[in-house]
Amino acid sequence: MASSYNAKEEDGQLSGAAGSGGVGAAKSKKPDNTAFKQQRLPAWQPILTAGTVLPAFFVIGLIFIPIGIGLLVTSNNIKEFESDVFMYYGLSNFYQNHRRYVKSRDDSQLNGDKSSLTNPSKECEPYRTSDSKPIAPCGAIANSLFNDTLTLYYINPNGTESVVPLIKKGIAWWTDKNVKFRNPGGSNSNLTAVFQGTSKPVNWRKPVYELDTDPENNGFINEDFIVWMRTAALPTFRKLYRLIEKKNNMIPTLQRGNYTLEITYNYPVRRFDGRKRMILSTISWMGGKNPFLGIAYITVGSVCFFLGVVLLIVHHKYGNRNNSAEIPN
């Protein structure tokens, strides 16, 4: 980007010229002659002309197109279940981002605060108390926890089904699991005792301290629960359900063949015209399969390149005319 630079050194000169007139009494009222006050700070004065912007467009084009191609290729390669496979459940037409829903939670209760446990926030209404006992965890989000159970079976070539091992650790954000969500009374207390005097959310079958047998995944720090508590941005969303780890490098995580998905159907979606999905996906460095970014990069890159060419033409056709027209002035 071409620029002209004018560091102004007239400042001193100016003060000399103006100051010579009235030195005596006038001096006190005379404004300071700093470059800032005289609006003569040294400055870089770039001008955006076709000539200077041209290279920028070409550079953007040259950088964006390869990135876009790279992204697209990565995105398209994702379907091969070579590496770790992620299992998601998806819901559509489910408004987790409804305002009444989003705010219906008590973060300090979830953080293990004892007083919030017995006296949850008003925001949790109408899921705040049940049978005049406080609900733990309170609020609409917790109350509507997704409670289908998904089990994946691989149908061996011999016809027998073997369970695909699903790992439920690492599906929630580390910080959520370890900092934001805390069981009341610390990590190694008796959860049943701690939650004494509270009531389970009305839609739940079992209380919060019976979500899992593993004490590291029970109560508020149950990862399924934490994942659900992170409200989705859009009405059609997916949430991470399980991980399928790659066992060894020789065979793919999910080998070619037939699979059976068994669903313990608890969660009603028909009532709001919703749909449920299960998604298996591998993840690259750029996440799941989403061609948008790649396409967008390629498009923007190409458009920039094209604009660069247009500007080049404009610059050559009109640029000289402009300059020659006004230099005689």
Binding site: Q39, Y88, S284
Partner: protein
């Protein structure tokens, strides 16, 4: 102030209608007049407390809040805040309450502090001790306890505590000197006169015996007008009535000088003093930018309301399905269910309003105010506008109009003191056709021989000699100059006597008079002093001649002359009269009129100010009848001015012409250059002067208002005598329109040198007949034709103008159909009316006092400073504030439109897209400083170039940067960017994970992504607009972005104990840990910036403005030096 006024009003009206009378009667020293005189209705007067403060301790909070919320913007934000408090709204009341609270508090603290200062000043004044006479003794009292009728004693250098009638003085002649510097800025000493019949009372005891009543009008605000009457009772006789005029009235705020002490009686107190009545605040002027801003605000308010309406309607359409309204997973509370539908609709509407209210940000007002306030310092600081002679720079009285300086289309300027120096120099005088030129250098001798350098007539005869001396004496006597003998140099010093005899200085409110008296001194007649009502003159033979000063017929601008009546030592009465030629010649019956007239005209063409001098002798009986006439006129309580004028008219008749004088008023430095620049910048310059046509025209030529090839159109009384006004107007308009019709295109393109441009000269009398509505109702026509002519003239000279006419002209142009922006510039009290009338009023810190400067919006030391003021400062302020306004709307469209779009994806539930902290801080801190600093220091073109090339000013004429087209462009750009942010994030989030560990993001990450892209785009957009990158710009632009990142890291990095939600915990970090988020952010920023960049480049290439051409030219020239050098400079600059 309000309170006491109100109180006095209540007192008046509650006391009964009959108590409210036109005049008041004051018993001097509270002494009842002898019985048998008229019974006066007692009136109640306020005490002498001055209340300039607005608030008291307990009413400060409510009153100040009330005042602040009367501003429509504040009120709007208050309503939003209250809505947030009352109903369940998506955002916490803090988001709008905090900024509002901040703004209100800062304003309240500022106003409270100012008021506290006023209280302190009031107290100091009100408690200041004064001396009053009670029972023949001097008693000290606090100033606020003064009552009407008290007799006060004022000593030298004390300030008068209220409006007083001057009873007697320590000076023998019953005069005192007063300086009214704090009232009208005139630092010269003025003489006031004690009442004739009381001036003999010199001691406290004597004064206490005065038995008199004063009748005077109720207080009015005109400082120079006062009518009253004093009735003095002596024994049982009929009272003696004497007139009281403004020369007897000592005003509060003035200071006693050169007089040991005086006695005076209180007539107006406290808030009824003339000074207090003049406190009135000036009417608020609003700039064109502010008006467009308000229009835009209304547009945005409509957008806001329609957004809220659309969303509310959509919400009810959408949730008509009960499964959407209340799905099983998201039930309402009972109270929500039971709520009335209408109430629900209103609540929803208000909630949407609250959600979108940031589109009209409170911070815009704060930023605009700050920009104006801080920006105005650049004017004050400007070294180029500092005048070392005066020791002062430009003064900004209001910062509301900074940008209006860049929009001026008409400049109305005064001549004397504005275009010219108003430092008069005596050039010559002409007695009966003999021309006398004093030596330029005074050599300390008595200058007898400095006569007749340019003899026109043959040698003067014996009578000539006599006439010549009479002429000199006339000039020495006919004036109101005072002699100041001490060395002190406060105020304006004039003509310090160089000859060293005595160091006396002549002081007068009129510089012409000083020049004349000094000229006389150089011709051998020295005016020494006024002593005991005798004027003393040192004549050529070093003898002192004494003349008793009988009457002074003071100067006024209607009569345009003044006279004195003196009695010589031989007992003869003379009347000397001097004045404008037009007012003297008709009154002359004898003398060499033709020769003098020829010389006067010759001098006028040279641009000199001419005065004619005439005299007549009065016989004793004539003098007495004159006295009688004057006294009856002076005694009149009603219409005194009119009666006086009639008396003057009768007295100043049948004069004998003596001669004429010529005084030069030099042009101000660079006046011609300034006028030329203003012309080139597309402004029309009008000179409005009280001077005569020839002098004014000569000045106009000298300062290049008219060029040699300017075709002068005259519309003067002379012409309208020959031709009817109607015909004259039509003739002129034909001449003008014939040319302009064919050449419109050329004139529009600007510099059209070959086109004969027109200059119009019009005089006051003709102008008033043009403006006067005639019987047939065709006045509108005349005015229209006249305006049409003016529109096509590059320069207009209006001569023989009365002060009020100046304001009328300004108003006429201001309200003509194009509504041009006008600027009035002047230095004297007679310019105040037009300064107040014009859009921008500029005062010159002149020699005729500071009244113009005080009433102006900006005051500059010299006329030449106008050039930089308009071409540089005005231009800069305009481009800065227009960008500020447009950018503010733009960035808030970017901010709010994604929220609007999000409603379509969250069931119209008013779910905010961004976190509360982001909502609150977006306008306050993330994006506020770059635009504020931009609007303070942006310079698209170098200021030297702006000064050198005035035509650049045309670029921004007619509010060109705030046109609808540009406003719509910015709004569309904002909408486009908002759509890019929102849908970019939408597709990125579309049903997939974009982290490498497969975990999902929630709605807050979505909002944060949009917000991050937005903050960067909006800031970088400003960076693209910035054409003047100082280290400050680098600091605030990159600093703001850095601050945003640091803040977000911090905000999400901690479980904040005082918050009841932790929704932002680690959201920002998690987002940054994802590669696609980075790529997405970069992509979206690029997409949003490209269209604007493209538009800028293409427009510059294909349709460059003249500023852009200049930039390109400069670039071409400066590309030559080595690039490496420039790069090294740049890097050093950045590292600064």
């Amino acid at each position: 102030m309000d309170c006491s006024l109100l109180r006095s009003l209540i007192n008046r009206y509650c006391a009964g209608e009959e108590n409210w009378v036109d005049s008041r009667t004051i018993y001097i020293g509270h002494r009842e007049p002898p019985s048998g005189t008229d019974a006066y209705i007692p009136q109640r007067y306020p005490d002498n407390r001055i209340v300039s403060s607005k608030y008291t301790f307990w009413n400060f909070v409510p009153k100040n809040l009330f005042e602040q919320f009367r501003r429509i913007a504040n009120f709007y934000f208050l309503i939003i805040f209250l809505v947030q408090l009352i109903i369940d709204t998506p955002t916490s009341p803090v988001t709008s309450g905090l900024p509002l609270f901040f703004v209100i508090t800062v304003t309240a603290v500022k106003q409270g502090y100012e008021d506290w200062l006023r209280h302190k000043a009031d107290n100091a004044v009100n408690q200041c001790p004064v001396h009053i006479i009670q029972h023949g003794k001097v008693v000290r009292k606090q100033s606020r306890k003064l009552r009407v009728g008290d007799i006060v004693l004022v000593k030298e250098d004390e300030t008068f505590p209220c409006d007083l009638i001057f009873l007697s003085s320590s000076r023998e002649d019953g005069t005192c000197f007063v300086t009214t510097a704090s009232l009208d800025g005139e630092s010269s000493h003025k003489t006031y006169f004690a009442v004739q019949d009381t001036k003999a009372f010199h001691t406290e005891q004597e004064v206490d015996t005065i038995n008199a009543t004063i009748e005077c009008e109720q207080p009015q605000s005109d400082l120079y007008k006062f009518v009253g009457r004093i009735n003095i009772y002596q024994g049982q006789d009929e009272p003696i009535a004497r007139p009281l005029g403004s020369e007897n009235l000592l005003l509060r705020g003035a200071t006693l000088k050169n007089t040991e002490h005086i006695f005076a009686v209180v007539i107006y107190t406290g808030m009824e003093t003339k000074m207090a009545l003049n406190y009135q605040s000036k009417s608020q002027k609003r700039s064109a930018v502010e008006k467009s801003m308000n229009t835009y605000l209304i547009v945005y308010l409509c957008i806001l309301i329609s957004k809220a309406v659309i969303n509310t309607a959509m919400k009810y359409v959408w949730q008509s399905d009960p499964n959407r309204d209340e799905p099983f997973y998201n039930q309402k509370t009972d109270s929500e269910r039971q709520r009335n539908t209408l109430l629900k609709v209103i609540t929803d509407f208000l909630a949407f309003m609250v959600l979108f209210n940031y589109i009209i940000p409170v911070s815009m007002y704060v930023t605009v105010e700050m920009q104006k306030f801080l920006g105005s310092y650049f004017i004050t600081w400007d070294d180029d506008m500092f005048d070392s002679e005066l020791g002062e720079g430009a003064v900004v009285n209001t910062s509301d109009l900074n940008e209006e300086l860049g929009q001026i289309e008409y400049v109305f300027t005064d001549k004397t003191g504005t275009l010219t120096e108003n430092s008069m120099e005596f050039i010559e005088c002409c007695v009966d056709g003999h021309v006398y030129v004093p030596d330029a250098i005074c050599n300390g001798q008595i200058l007898t021989g400095t006569v007749g350098m340019d003899m026109i007539d043959s040698s003067p005869g014996a009578g000539g000699q006599e006439r010549e001396e009479l002429f000199f004496r006339a000039l020495c006597l006919c004036h109101t100059v005072q002699v100041k003998e001490e060395e002190s140099v406060d105020g304006i010093k004039k003509g310090l006597q160089p000859c060293g005899k005595s160091s006396s200085v002549y002081i007068s409110s009129s510089p012409d008079e000083v020049a004349l008296v000094e000229g006389m001194k150089r011709l051998g007649f020295t005016y020494l002093r006024l002593k005991d009502n005798h004027m003393e003159i040192l004549n050529r033979d070093d003898d002192i001649e004494r003349f008793e000063l009988m009457e002074v017929l003071t100067f006024d601008s209607v009569r345009r002359r003044m006279s004195v009546i003196v009695k010589s030592s031989t007992g003869e009465y003379y009347l000397f009269c001097k004045g404008a030629d037009s007012s003297i010649f008709p009154r002359v019956i004898k003398g060499k009129v033709d020769q003098v007239r020829a010389r006067v005209e010759h001098n006028a063409v040279e641009g000199l100010r001419t005065l004619c001098v005439a005299y007549k002798t009065l016989a004793q009986d004539e003098y007495e009848s004159v006295c009688k006439q004057l006294n009856t006129a002076k005694l009149a309580l009603n219409d005194r001015d009119k009666k006086l004028a009639e008396a003057f008219d009768v007295i100043e008749r049948d004069l004998i012409l003596l001669g004429a004088t010529a005084v030069e008023d030099r042009l101000q430095d660079k006046a011609a250059d300034t006028i030329e620049s203003l012309h080139k910048a597309g402004m029309k310059v009008w000179v409005l002067t009280g001077d005569k046509m020839e002098t004014a025209a000569a000045t106009c030529y000298a300062c290049r208002l008219f060029h040699r090839n300017t075709q002068i159109l005259e519309l003067t009384t002379k012409r309208t005598e020959e031709q009817s006004l109607h015909d004259a107007l039509f003739d002129l308009s034909k001449t003008v329109l014939r040319h302009c019709g064919s050449l419109t295109r050329d004139t529009l393109s600007g510099l059209s040198h070959d086109v004969p441009d027109y200059g119009l000269i019009i005089d006051g009398a003709t102008l008033s007949s043009v403006m006067k509505p005639t019987e047939e109702g065709s006045s509108g026509n005349y005015k229209e034709i006249f305006l049409e002519i003016c529109r096509n003239c590059s320069a207009v000279l209006c001569c023989r103008m009365a002060p009020l006419q100046k304001a009328q002209i300004v108003k006429m142009i201001k309200t003509s159909k194009e509504h041009p922006i006008t600027l009035a510039i002047g230095d004297g009290a007679n310019d105040v009316s037009m300064i107040l009338e014009a859009h921008v009023g500029i005062g010159i810190m002149g020699k005729e006092g500071r009244q113009a400067a005080r009433n102006s919006d900006y005051a500059i030391p010299k006329f030449k400073h106008l050039k930089k003021m308009l071409l540089v400062h005005g231009h800069y302020y305009y481009i800065r504030i227009s960008e500020l306004v447009q950018y503010f709307f733009y960035k808030n469209v970017c901010f709010i439109f994604p929220q609007f779009l999000y409603q379509f994806f969250c069931g119209f539930s008013q779910q905010p897209l961004y976190d509360t902290a982001y909502l609150t801080l977006y306008n306050i801190s993330f994006t506020s400083l770059p635009i504020l600093l931009y609007s303070l220091i942006e310079q698209h073109v170098n200021m030297d170039i702006l000064k050198r090339d005035p035509s650049l000013y045309r670029d921004i004429a007619k509010n060109s940067l705030l046109r609808w087209r540009i406003f719509i462009y910015w709004t569309l750009l904002g909408l486009f960017d908002a759509v890019v942010f929102f849908f970019g994030a939408y597709f990125l989030f579309d049903n997939t994970s974009f982290t490498s560990n497969g975990q999902m993001f929630g709605n807050w990450t979505f909002g944060t992504l949009v917000f991050t892209v937005m903050v960067f785009t909006v800031t970088l957009k400003l960076a693209l607009d910035t054409q003047y990158w100082t280290w400050i710009n680098h600091f605030v632009i990159w600093g703001s972005l850095l601050f945003y990142v640091v803040f977000s890291l911090l905000w999400g990095g901690i479980i904040w104990p005082f918050l009841n939600y932790q929704r932002m915990y680690y959201v920002f970090m998690q987002m940054l840990s994802s590669g696609p988020a980075w790529l997405g952010i970069i992509l979206l920023i690029t997409i949003s910036l490209i269209p604007d960049l493209l538009k800028k480049v293409i427009c510059r290439q294909l349709w460059p403005t003249s500023a852009e051409r200049i930039q390109a030219k400069r670039q071409c020239l400066s590309v030559e030096p080595s690039t490496i050098f420039m790069l090294s400079q740049t890097s050093s600059n950045i590292s600064f």
